[in-house]
């Protein structure tokens, strides 16, 4: 399922059911031949790392789904440890890319983004900050990274939960011969990753930036993709129903509603970011 088509699908009940059952699938573009050969003559730009990170994430997602198919407990525990290790490596790569942009991203403590979103669509989410960017490319990379971080971190939380559950089972059945800390000596503890929903808020707080008239009518195509990724992840998180609905509403507005809104914006000279 291609994420950027979510912009036209998000509010349809049938499609929501379809999305719930959809799977990320590894693509040929993740093969080394396809990630390296086209860049033999031209160096990758920062934005070109986003598809690479996305593909790593898809592969991770695929392996997590495969955990249920592993028959032995031991094999499962080993695979969980390997997945955790891969997650940290992907997290490091994302952070490295994010650090190259961080001086070009600003957060204002204002409810402007929340008010703005509430003025264009029916959402119940209150944002306490607004994100602005030095330029369009920075915005695009940051939005993608926030969506990918939210997704990756929620999966890391899930993997650590699995690990703890396995340990508790072993303790209960008397088969544990070591403490969890001993079992996972090289696994760092999760810290800020547990608050992965913050990255979804950042993503929502960046939407007004894309809706500036100067970014014209192509920007919805660009922001819709990371929003689609966040939306899909929230499908399995019932505690964040309001956030999921907020994204669905924004995605809807990004289509025809946005065009109408922009025309009224131009006519009434409403303030922009």
């Amino acid at each position: 399922m291609r994420l950027h088509v979510y912009f036209k699908l998000a509010t349809n009940a049938y499609v929501q059911a379809f999305l719930a059952g959809s799977q990320c699938r590894p693509s040929y573009t993740s093969l080394p031949l396809w990630t390296q050969l086209p860049w033999e003559k031209i160096a990758k730009r920062p934005i070109d790392h986003i598809p690479d990170l996305y593909l790593s994430h898809v592969s991770l997602d695929h392996r997590i789904k495969g955990l249920a198919r592993l028959s032995s407990d031991e094999g499962r525990s080993d695979e969980i440890m390997r997945l955790i290790s891969t997650s940290w490596e992907t997290d490091r790569q994302m952070e490295e890319l994010y650090q190259t942009l961080s001086s070009r991203i600003w957060f204002s403590r204002t409810d402007y983004a929340g008010r703005y979103l509430r003025s264009i669509c029916d959402i119940d989410t209150h944002l306490e900050f607004c994100a602005t960017f030095a330029d369009f490319d920075t915005a695009m990379i940051a939005s993608w990274l926030w969506a990918l971080q939210a997704s990756l971190w929620s999966k890391m939380v899930y993997l650590y939960d699995l690990l703890a559950m396995k340990h508790n089972q072993d303790v209960a059945t008397g088969t544990a011969n070591t403490l969890l800390d001993d079992l996972t000596p090289n696994v760092p503890q999760l810290t800020y990753q547990t608050n992965w929903i913050d990255r979804v808020y950042r993503l929502l707080a960046s939407v007004p930036f894309y809706l500036q008239p100067r970014y014209q009518i192509t920007s919805p195509l660009i922001i819709a993709t990371p929003l689609g990724l966040a939306y899909r992840d929230l499908l399995s998180q019932p505690q964040f129903e309001a956030e999921k609905q907020a994204i669905a509403s924004v995605l809807n507005v990004l289509t025809d509603g946005m065009m109408a809104y922009r025309r009224s914006l131009m006519a009434n000279t409403v303030d922009t970011v």
Binding site: L3, H4, N12, T29, L33, P38, K41, D48, R214, T218
Partner: protein, 155 residues
């Protein structure tokens, strides 16, 4: 000749209106690269025209332009299908660019209540074409910028 000039002006206006300025983002860069090269095939010329007309029709809520874009789109589809069937040009950069322009047409011309089926099928065909050309075909020029965008579309 005057048709050529009209097409070039239409494309220039589209870039001026529809694309964020000064960006290197893959979704947009290929359009600037395309603009700086001469589109010679009928498939590419008509696909660009359909995409531009659909964008203007949408932005201005102009039914005449939307109608015009739908007519141009039919011509573009036929020309692109013919190009894809012709082994001499099926793997050319022009044909790939025509497919990508037709995808953008779908984006601009989308119906609010569309289920996205047509778009998804066209995207599938586009992805297959990218794959069949092979990775060595995307090292520079228009092909490289088309591939950068294709990777994002694959997401």
């Amino acid at each position: 000749m005057s048709n050529d000039i009209n097409r070039i002006q239409l494309f220039s206006s589209f870039l001026e209106t529809a694309v964020p300025k000064g960006t290197t983002c893959p979704n947009c860069e290929w359009l600037f690269v395309l603009h700086s090269t001469q589109a010679t095939s009928l498939a590419l010329q008509s696909s660009i025209a359909a995409m531009c007309l659909a964008a203007f029709g949408k932005l201005n809520a102009d039914e005449n332009l939307q109608h015009e874009s739908a007519i141009t789109h039919k011509q573009a589809l036929l020309a692109t299908q013919a190009a894809l069937r012709n082994p001499l040009v099926s793997y050319s950069d022009d044909t790939l660019a025509a497919c990508e322009a037709l995808l953008l047409y779908d984006f601009y011309a989308q119906d609010t209540y569309s289920d996205g089926t047509v778009y998804l099928k066209n995207l599938e065909a586009f992805s297959r074409l990218v794959y069949l050309r092979g990775p060595e075909q995307y090292k520079e020029g228009l092909a490289h910028s088309l591939f950068r965008n294709a990777r994002l579309l694959e997401a």
